[in-house]
């Protein structure tokens, strides 16, 4: 018998295979690696963000600041690179450190003062978005040889496709996320806290420290997403990535992670992000449908996954969240 904890992940894989299979069946060009390469590249920043979000949601929290973080990091990099002439790699390090520190600060407030992460990260979201405009009101290009080299670097795939630098960064980020989630005590403690915070405390888990680390991780991942997004578009715009936090949450949930925390998989999130990309691609291939149909399909999928999760957790005894 398959362990019931894997049901959501299996459902995600099944949906992903079905959608991709439908595409290949319906459109000949869909089976080309060209589509796959684009899928990985176009959704790289979303998937990176969603990996960080996975840890936050696994711990029972939420991080609404990630979209603004992407935009802020872009604007910051543009200012550092174009304005101050700093090498992009240094700007990347500055951005990642900033993302980590900002996340750690939000995590500290959330853990120490026991405040809903929703409201703290909402404040973080407004703050960062506002900061973007403080630095820069318009869309500016990020021009540097390194950025062009990054955008041009690609490994060819069999067929007509290729793996871009963005996609490679994303794949590495997913692998690192997998290892953190499944092979470190920190990762397992995140699951425990999301499953039952009070119990985790009594089991001797350093709850406060772990929560701070979770938001730090999410900050770093969203900053990394910002870097990838900035290199990918080679420009910075204060209104970039509006609503990406919600897309990331959707990817996490479609990836099979329980929105209340404690159950889920980083691998699931990767496929959740891919599913969202496939839906977009399918609608683009169709050509007659409005692109907003993406949202409708994703809405339906989200609903399906939430019902599935409810059915699985309802069979659990001793869940504090459930009715007693």
């Amino acid at each position: 018998m398959i362990n019931e904890r894997y049901y959501p992940l299996l459902a995600t894989l099944a949906v992903c295979a079905l959608l991709y299979g439908y595409g290949m069946f319906e459109y000949r060009a869909f089976s080309d690696t060209y589509v796959l390469g684009n899928l990985l590249t176009d959704n790289a920043f979303l998937i990176i963000t969603a990996i960080g979000m996975t840890f936050v949601i696994l711990s029972g929290g939420i991080d609404l600041s990630v979209g603004s973080m992407i935009a802020f990091v872009g604007v910051l990099m543009a200012e550092l690179v174009t304005g101050f002439g700093i090498h992009p790699l240094v700007a990347v390090v500055v951005s990642l450190v900033f993302g980590g520190l900002f996340g750690a600060f939000m995590g500290f407030i959330i853990a120490r003062f026991d405040i809903q992460p929703f409201i703290i990260t909402l404040a973080g979201m407004f703050f960062l978005r506002g900061m973007c405009f403080l630095i820069n009101l318009d869309s500016v290009p990020i021009s540097h040889d390194f950025v062009s080299a990054f955008a041009g670097f690609r490994i060819p795939l069999p067929g007509r496709g290729w793996l871009s630098a963005s996609a490679m960064v994303m794949l590495v980020a997913v692998l690192v996320g997998l290892v953190i989630a499944h092979y470190t005590r920190f990762g397992r403690n995140v699951y425990a806290i999301g499953g039952d915070r009070q119990s985790a405390q009594l089991l001797g888990i350093p709850v406060e420290r772990t929560i701070i680390q979770v938001y730090t991780l999410s900050g770093v991942y969203s900053a990394l997403a910002g870097v990838v997004f900035a290199f990918y578009t080679a420009s910075a715009y204060p209104l970039a990535a509006v609503g990406v936090e919600l897309d990331a949450i959707a990817a996490v949930v479609i990836g099979g992670t329980l929105l209340t925390g404690g159950m889920g998989f980083v691998a699931g999130t990767f496929f959740g992000g891919i599913i969202m990309g496939v839906i977009q691609t399918l609608i683009a291939f169709d050509g007659t449908l409005n692109s907003w149909w993406t949202k409708i399909v994703i809405g339906g999928l989200l609903f399906g996954f939430i019902v599935l999760q409810r059915l699985i957790t309802r069979s659990f005894s001793g869940m504090r969240a459930g009715a007693s």
């Binding site: 362990n3 019931e4 904890r5 290892v179 499944h182 092979y183 470190t184 005590r185 397992r188 403690n189 699951y191 425990a192 999301g194 499953g195 039952d196 009070q198 119990s199 985790a200 009594l202 089991l203 001797g204 888990i205 329980l258 925390g261 404690g262 159950m263 957790t313 069979s315 659990f316 005894s317 001793g318 869940m319």
Partner: protein, 501 residues
């Protein structure tokens, strides 16, 4: 027990004070290796405070705790665990969404090059379960197993920590008879291995079945430590409730006016719920007070909640004046004219942020339905009347109830039901945590209400109180009705005997 000489765990003169409350004072407790030691006492006696002090949840304010002769100061349960004191709390404190293996090995996973080695960790988890003879799939989510299995996994985790002392806080509350047998078997084998086990429970038959010694606490103080074999059950209950068998003859024999006769006649017929309360039948009529006596966990609160629809009964019916009453939700009970003052006032009774007036208006509004709001002037009138009639000490009727003292909060809850003119009022521990002055007020109020023709069901652990006002007493034991006393039979003596029998 061979090794009587050296206790593994010993507490001397332990005290714990919370603002305004002495939770523990000068308590001595010692646990021998290879001993199962019961820790007994009513609610508020200090059992859980003592455990929390020993395990480091609360720092102690006085006294010493020594483990193997060395004084310890654990700062939190994790530290106590490392020292060798493992605790299994009443509610299973594991993570239901994680696998059994992970729950066992959390924070103790074997690591290789900084990363968790799952193979080794799973092996350790299997090892831990084997000591308890538990054969379950360690990769499944803990939550997919019954509460009993989860409880055993919690014990396996506790024992796997090289524990010297195992504290079990009411581990049997949610187990059925077979599961308890399994648990006791495990406890005996752990005892044979030389572990000292502290067993907190309120099931006295279990105390006699498994424990070697008994320590009894009352009102934060130590009553004494006794050998289980030589302490009779009557003596045990006397120690717990703190009454010597000397009779207090304050029993008021209520001169019941038969004029009101059969009005507001409440019949409870075979009301019960699986695992909560065995079917109970009870009758009471207007102008009568029926006391509910019994130890903690005997089913007092459960009966009150079933009658009020706060828990849904799966058998039996309640009739009022020969007509059955639908009691699936408290709302239906309120509409039928029932009222409940719950045991846990802060949690289930008051809305602390709302003012006195709003709290008082709640039940009446509930009875009328939301479509017919009570005019503000009327609310003010009710509130002022009640503040005066019950002597609620509040500067004005808008003061948030959370800021009033316990006694005044209780009066507000009583007032809430009084304005809705109930016919049947259930009071669960109406005087708990209330100072002496307010205590007398509330007893008087209960009597006055009764004289006005209300039917009253009052659950209390204070026998003196029950004897003082009840016309009849229903004694509950082990979640069923043990006996009913009336008239001159209502004495503390008789109640204690009925509880102990």
């Amino acid at each position: 027990m061979a090794d009587r000489a050296q206790p593994v765990l010993s507490a001397r003169g332990v005290g714990k004070f919370f603002p305004g409350v002495k939770a523990l004072e000068n308590v001595d407790f010692s646990l021998m290796p290879g001993e199962i030691h019961a820790l007994l006492g009513e609610n508020g006696a200090g059992k859980s405070t003592l455990i929390k002090v020993i395990t480091g949840v609360h720092p102690r304010d006085a006294g010493t705790v020594t483990l193997d002769g060395r004084e310890i100061h654990p700062g939190h349960p994790g530290e106590a665990q490392q020292l060798g004191i493992s605790t299994v709390f009443q509610e299973v404190n594991l993570v239901p969404t994680l696998s059994v293996a992970e729950n066992l090995m959390l924070e103790r996973q074997t690591r290789k090059f900084g990363l968790i080695s799952w193979k080794k960790t799973a092996g350790d988890a299997r090892e831990a379960l084997k000591t308890l003879g538990l054969d379950i799939d360690i990769n499944r989510a803990l939550g997919s197993y019954s509460v009993a299995i989860q409880q055993l996994v919690a014990i396996a985790r506790a024992v796997a920590l090289d524990a010297k002392v195992l504290i079990l806080d009411e581990p049997t509350a949610s187990l059925d008879a077979d599961e308890i047998k399994t648990l006791f078997g495990i406890m005996r084998s752990l005892k044979a291995k030389g572990l000292g086990i502290v067993f907190v429970t309120h099931f006295l038959d279990q105390v006699y079945e498994i424990t070697d010694r008994i320590t009894i606490l009352r009102n934060g103080g130590l009553v004494g430590t006794f050998d289980t074999a030589t302490l009779s059950q009557i003596d045990l209950i006397n120690h717990m409730l703190g009454r010597e068998l000397a009779e207090v003859s304050s029993h008021r024999h209520h001169a019941k006016s038969t004029a009101t006769g059969r009005k507001n006649h409440i019949q409870i017929k075979n009301l019960g719920k699986k695992r909560v309360l065995k079917p109970v039948s009870l009758e009471l009529s207007g102008g009568e007070i029926v006391g509910l006596a019994g130890l903690l966990g005997s089913g007092r609160t459960e009966l009150a909640e079933l009658v009020f629809g706060a828990q849904r009964a799966d058998s039996g019916l309640v009739f009022m004046d020969e007509k059955p009453v639908m009691l699936r939700t408290p709302r239906q009970a309120i509409r039928a004219g029932f009222g409940l003052c719950p045991e846990d006032r802060k949690q289930d009774g008051i809305v602390p942020e709302l003012g006195v007036r709003e709290n008082i208006a709640l039940a009446l509004q509930g009875r009328r339905g939301w479509l017919r709001p009570i005019p503000r002037a009327e609310q003010d009138k009710f509130a002022d009347e009640m503040i005066k009639a019950l002597g609620i000490a509040t500067p004005d009727r808008e003061k948030p109830v959370g800021q009033l003292s316990g006694g005044n909060q209780q009066k507000v809850i009583l007032a809430r039901w009084l304005v809705s003119k109930p016919v049947f009022l259930i009071l669960d521990e109406p005087t708990r945590g209330i100072d002496v002055g307010a205590h007398a007020d509330i007893i008087k109020l209960i009597r006055d209400l009764c004289d006005e023709g209300l039917a009253l069901l009052v659950a209390s652990s204070e026998l003196e109180e029950i004897v003082a006002f009840a016309d009849r007493v229903a004694v509950l034991r082990d979640r069923e009705l043990a006996s009913e006393l009336s008239g001159a039979d209502i004495t503390q003596n008789n109640i204690i005997e009925a509880i102990a029998r």
